[in-house]
Amino acid sequence: MEFALTDEQRMLDESLRGYLARELPLETLKALAREGQGVSEKHWRELAELGVAGLMVPAEHGGAGLGVLDAAVAAEALGYAGAPVAFAGPAVMAPLAVSLMASAAQQAEWLPRMAAGEMRVAVAFAGGTGQTGRADVTLDGTTLSGAIDGVLDAAGATHVLTILPDGRAALAEVRGSGVTGEVKPTLDRTRPLSQVTFDKAPVAVLDASNDAAAAARRVRDAGRVMLAADTLGAAQAMLDKAVAYAKERVQFGRVIASFQAIKHMSAEMATELEPCRAMVWYAAHAADAIPEDAHVAACHAKAHVAEVGRFVQTKATEVHGGMGFTELMGLELWYKRISLDRHMLGSPERCRHEAAVAQGWVAG
């Protein structure tokens, strides 16, 4: 038994963190967030070159052929850096959905382009996630109509893959006829949400799965694990920043890190956060290898890490005092990142409800 990352996963983690530390200094990140649309084409391109876009694409289609756990490692690193790039959609949910649901021909057509970062697919759920906002589309043959709010990773995307409540999926081109993607000013300026409208948009239907509903659930669970991993990274960043700040900030003639109140707040954050890492790893590993546990683990990871994230985002800001409340130190970027993750693909309450249903504690 080895409950640990492999050497390859650790290398992936280090290389990503190294790249992000070099290429995404705080001032760059703040500037990107200030511009409002947030997502950075440059960083997406460079990350794609590092293999991030093709992480989950099977090797025979030009990807790295890695799993959800590898993706979770990357998501944590991106969350830690506050990276203004799309990830959960085009690099995780979309390749997984295509692998699970698309025909061999569709896979052969799309997956290599996705691995290259050239085809960037946002994933939109038309219900079933518990996410608030409009999610109302109908698939009529090969055309799609309706609207979905709060679509992650659609800014800069080339395609939107819509997953219907019954598990069917439909791929539309963002620049295709009948598709409107409106990027909305979003709380997290580094990951804006979009409102996507379809008006008899022509789509490619993905219907090669034997059990479409199960496949859709796997895609959604993978997305939830990514959001949990992202929050984990962002919360770890906030904790690290709080501890570092407390060691420097002097009040009453002492560094505030020497006050028991600050020390204990920091200890409480660390105590809540550290076990989240193993939880995210397990949920991701279960998505790859333990199908009977995967759904419950994903729901729990999403819910629990979101609750811990709220605790850490609050207390870490408090440790920073007034500076944490300003935009000066950029701390708020991570605060807002954690907030966004919480609300996407189902609230903690919703995810806990699903965990209860999946365990047979209550009827669905």
């Binding site: 608030t132 906002g133 408090e318 007034g322 935009e327 609230s347």
Partner: protein, 403 residues
């Protein structure tokens, strides 16, 4: 326990209601929020001062109404204006903090010069206290003022100065006697914001708004007679000022209003076809918060009574800031959660320029601002020090040994 008003108070209540009914058309829509009062606001303020609904207890010789201090009267007036949704007069740091400070320790000349225009809204003040290195540890103020002939020359930096971008004057805590122990080296100066050498820079917070400023002083000359009390008395004066800040009660009715707004939100928000208000795990969270709000509401009524009776509420008052800000943050967190993903569209308008935020943005702004309230004005950690030391009589932390 008698929750009805006596005849005298009922009469005042009726009088205020009649006034509002008659004059509500002249009420400006918002007063003194992040911008300089315009002509309509000034006219309204003058009417309120005349009637004694603003500056009620300020002596007539300084332009006020000359009423006896009576917290119950103040509460009735505030409640009626709040219920009617009518502007209750300018709420500024000059009126709530500087004016009572001048009445307590200012010279006659200072009172005559500043109180009248301040209460009429013609002079707006900002507060020059906090510095980057003097937050929780306010006495650590480093902004220097050196006497040069009959002027102090000020150099340094202030932060969290909320109305600095339109204020006419500032009350400033600065260091004049650097050789003295830190609490004894401070002075309290009044200075015009038009004095050369002052630079005001907006300070953007996480809410996306520039509710605050930083203020930089470079060789700013302040006439030496614009000091309140003497050199080295700054800490004393600042604490008098802060005493008046702390006397402004948090408003539990505001929190109860929030509870009902969130209930409405939960009635209007559905997930998979079911209203959130009908989901007991959501509803229970709201009802639990309502219980906390109710406790604070009745606690405030009790404090008000104690104040009216001249009883020092002691611990009862010390807990108000901590209780209210922590509860407020939990309340807005629930609202934000009810909106969920649909509430993540976030488009805040800048205070300086104005414009209305949509409802979800407002809740997110409030939620983050509530965290700012936990941090500012004496953080929760400082409040707990105060409560345990002054309220529960626990010892101060021992001073560290010199190394």
């Amino acid at each position: 326990m008698d929750l009805s008003y006596s005849d005298r108070y009922r009469a005042l209540q009726a009088e205020v209601r009649a006034f509002i009914a008659t004059h509500r058309d002249r009420s400006p829509s918002a007063v003194g929020v992040r911008r300089k009062p315009d002509a309509a606001i000034l006219a309204w303020q003058q009417l309120l001062v005349e009637k004694g609904y603003a500056a009620r207890t300020i002596p007539t010789r300084y332009g006020g109404y000359g009423g006896e201090p009576d917290v119950m009267e103040a509460a009735i007036i505030a409640e009626e204006f709040s219920k009617a949704g009518v502007a209750a007069g300018i709420a500024s740091q000059g009126i709530s903090m500087l004016v009572p400070t001048l009445l307590e320790v200012g010279t006659e000349a200072q009172r005559e010069r500043w109180i009248r225009p301040t209460i009429r809204g013609e002079v707006i003040w900002c507060q020059g206290y906090s510095e980057p290195g003097a937050g929780s540890d306010l006495a650590n103020v480093q902004t220097r003022a050196v006497l040069d002939g009959d002027h102090f020359v000020v150099n340094g930096q202030k932060i969290w100065t909320s109305s600095a971008h339109y204020a006419d004057w500032m009350f400033l805590l600065c260091r004049t006697e650097p050789e003295k122990p830190k609490h004894h080296g401070l002075s309290y100066l009044l200075l015009s914001m038009k004095t050369p050498g002052i630079e005001v820079r907006p300070l953007k917070t996480m809410t996306g708004k520039s509710t605050f400023n930083e203020v930089f002083f470079t060789d700013v000359r302040v006439p030496a007679d614009q000091i309140v009390m003497g050199r080295g008395d700054g800490w004393t004066v600042a604490n008098i000022t802060l005493k008046y800040e702390r006397m402004m009660l948090g408003d539990a009715n505001k929190f109860m209003h929030r509870v009902h707004r969130i209930r409405e939100l939960m009635e209007g928000t559905t997930i998979d076809g079911e209203r959130l208000i009908d989901k007991p795990e959501w509803r229970d969270r709201l009802v639990r918060l309502q219980g906390e709000v109710m406790a604070s509401k009745y606690h405030q009524m009790r404090l008000l009574t104690q104040q009216a009776q001249g009883v020092d509420p002691g611990l009862g008052r010390m807990i108000v800031k901590l209780y209210g800000t922590e509860m407020g943050y939990r309340l807005s967190a629930l609202a934000v959660d009810v909106y969920g993903a649909a509430g993540l569209v976030f488009d805040p308008h800048d205070d300086m320029t104005g414009g209305a935020d949509d409802a979800a943005t407002s809740w997110h702004v409030d939620h983050m601002y509530d965290l700012g309230l936990i941090i500012g004005g004496g953080s929760s950690q400082i409040q707990k020090n105060i409560i345990s030391e002054r309220g529960l009589g626990m010892p101060r932390e021992p001073k560290p040994a010199a190394r």
